[in-house]
Amino acid sequence: MASPAVIVFLAMFMVPMVLAFVLSLTDWNGFSLRFEWVGFDNYATAFKNPRVVHAATFTFVVALIGTILCNGMGLAVACLISGTGALNTVARTVFFYPYIISALIIGFLWSALLAPQGVVNNILTQLGAPPVPFLSDPGFAKWTLIFTIVWSTFGFNMILYIAGLKSIPAEYYEAAMVDGATPWLKFRHITFPLLAPVTTVNLVLTIVGLLKSYDIVLALTDGGPAGSTQTVVYEILRDSFVNARLGFGSAQAVILLIVTGAIAVAVTLTRRGAEMRVSE
């Protein structure tokens, strides 16, 4: 009964993955009949290439800060609106809706809002304020990108946290009430520890998702200005296709794969302690 799924998964997922590794050992351009085996040269080049290193560092920063912000905000908002009232339902929809919109379109929308001659800067100019270089200053653009990503995805984290909150039995809070605990104490000693499994899932999903940011980058900044917002996937696609260095692109893809896997496993393992305490 499992074999059809295994076959499809093998052919469309595992074989390409192995192929990516094989290609990464060549200098193939993707189409010619000849190529050379270059061993791990592509990997060595990747670690030396300033663009690749910059993209990798930036992607890591986006994933790290993005994960912290998405989860911090997601959890905070979840605690505020986890009730059942109509107002809460509306609020949930409002915070969640960007998640159902494609990252590409989110990127185009925010770039129209934040461009030097975009909506926000037009308003600022009319108010007599100096324009803000949201997308035209390398430093600013990085933060604009992170902000946009967080804006569009923390709603998803929020929903997962709400789900987690709903599964916490009410008796715990009732007991705390008797003890006269403050809301903060209740959060620290009941809510947060009991959310541990949901938190793990949230952390892993966000960090894995953000490590592969691309669509939003393409539409919002196209990697610029001055290459400041190029991400790993942006580099992979550019090197593989535009520069016709499929081998080099594949090497970067394999590195991304290893890093993503390692981080996911590391997060899961370090969170195991927190989760254990829940089951006790």
């Binding site: 050379e36 001659q117 200005p225 550019r238």
Partner: protein, 413 residues
């Protein structure tokens, strides 16, 4: 190595069986697919209209394939990799990397005698034919601005150019229009590359081999550019300016000088309201030097080896590059110029550009950007230059800029 070649061959061959799926049924019209660059002036409509007479005369259907998110070069790699190869590719110039995929056109006189044919030879063979030339060392200027600043003549040397910028600024004009996106490199390239190539005729070769470095050849220009930024000849927030806005700014008479390829002439011609515009090419570094004019072969056509209709593909290329109407439509539609072809309505700017092409001896043309044919630097140079010029525009020093370019060459050679 042999094993590697075989594996690749197997991959390619097996792919051929299922890939394209465009077998020519005898009764059906043959379909030729042409991957073509789509711009504001050369739209899909434009292409369909231009190929229409060819379609009719040869009973074929020419289908225009538009490039995707990775640009035309990236799209071609994708199509080649997927085995879904178009018959004809417009816009790309041949390179050593692409040559094995291309049909050798050396036996055709029209390919050998076309514009810039020599410069685009790869390994001694002619793989492309083009329609005309794109000038890429041209500075369009607002005549009123020059008059306001008391400038009577376009600058002939870089020092004069610099003095003129100061005069323009003093007269209250924004001297230069540049911007972000893909065209940040243009101002820098236009003030540097033609003169670097004049001083180092073997620049491409020596850069590729590592005998020359970027900082050895571009230090002066980088310093000049940084000075101009400091002096405010380029507005501080220029890096955020989009291409369409840059063009609109200049056409609205808000800036004095707009460095841009000759394709700007098409937009200029179409603009309903515009100032009086003149044009000059890159001034020389020292008085008495011969000026170099950067020109790229425009609307280049390549016939793909994988095409099942090679003869027709070649025929289409011949039509696009030799048929009078087809040429004229492409020239006037996209600001391309070709010596001897001026038999269509031109405005003054176009006439000036036409004159610049006709007056420049063949040996004084140089190739812009990454070069052409066999004389090229590693692919991605223009892209990297663009990125690093943006870094300078946003506060990096000229030294950092040179460093960064040197690093790039070191890891991409």
């Amino acid at each position: 190595m042999t094993a590697a070649a075989l594996t690749a061959a197997a991959l390619t061959l097996t792919g051929c069986g299922g890939g394209g799926g465009q077998s020519a049924d005898s009764g059906k019209k043959v379909e030729l697919r042409m991957l073509a660059n789509i711009s504001l002036t050369q739209t899909e409509d434009f292409w369909n209209k231009t190929v229409a007479p060819f379609e009719k005369a040869n009973n074929v259907d020419v289908k225009i394939v538009a490039p995707g998110a990775d640009g035309l070069a990236g799209t071609l790699t994708q199509l080649l990799a997927s085995g879904d190869v178009p018959d004809v590719v417009e816009w790309l110039a041949p390179s050593a990397k692409l040559a094995p995929e291309l049909v050798d056109l050396s036996k055709y006189d029209w390919a050998k005698n076309g514009p810039l044919a020599e410069q685009n030879k790869v390994d001694g063979k002619y793989y492309t034919a083009g329609v005309g030339e794109n000038l890429q060392s041209t500075f369009f200027y607002n005549k009123k601005a020059f008059a306001d600043a008391g400038i009577t003549q376009a600058p002939a040397t870089m020092d004069e150019f610099e003095a003129d910028l100061a005069k323009l600024k003093a007269a209250g004009w924004v001297p230069l229009q540049t911007g972000g996106e893909w065209f940040s490199n243009i101002l820098f390239q236009y003030i540097s590359l033609p003169n670097v190539l004049a001083a180092n005729p073997d620049w491409h070769k020596k850069m590729s081999s590592g005998d020359l470095t970027f900082s050895q050849t571009f230090a002066g220009s980088a310093k000049r550019y940084a000075d101009w930024l400091k002096a405010g000849y380029v507005p501080k927030d220029a890096v955020g300016v989009k291409y369409a806005d840059a063009e609109a700014n200049f056409l609205a008479g808000k800036v004095a000088i707009y460095p841009m390829g000759s394709w700007f002439a098409a937009a200029e011609k179409a603009a309903p309201k515009k100032p009086d515009i003149g044009v000059f090419s890159t001034p020389v570094e020292h008085e008495g030097d011969t000026p170099r004019v950067a020109a790229a072969l425009a609307n280049t056509y390549l016939a793909m080896k994988a095409s099942k209709h090679q003869d027709l593909a070649i025929k289409l290329i011949k039509f696009m590059t030799t048929d009078k109407t087809a040429i004229t439509e492409q020239l006037s539609g996209d600001g391309i110029f070709r010596a001897g072809y001026d038999d269509y309505p031109m405005d003054q700017v176009s006439k000036d550009l036409q004159k610049l092409i006709s007056d420049t001896p063949a040996e004084d043309f140089v190739s812009p950007g990454e070069g052409s044919g066999d004389t090229i630097v590693p692919a991605g140079f223009t892209n990297e230059l663009n990125t690093d010029v943006q870094a300078m525009m946003t506060g990096k020093s000229a030294d950092d800029f040179l460093h960064s370019m040197d690093d790039w060459f070191a890891s991409n050679r």
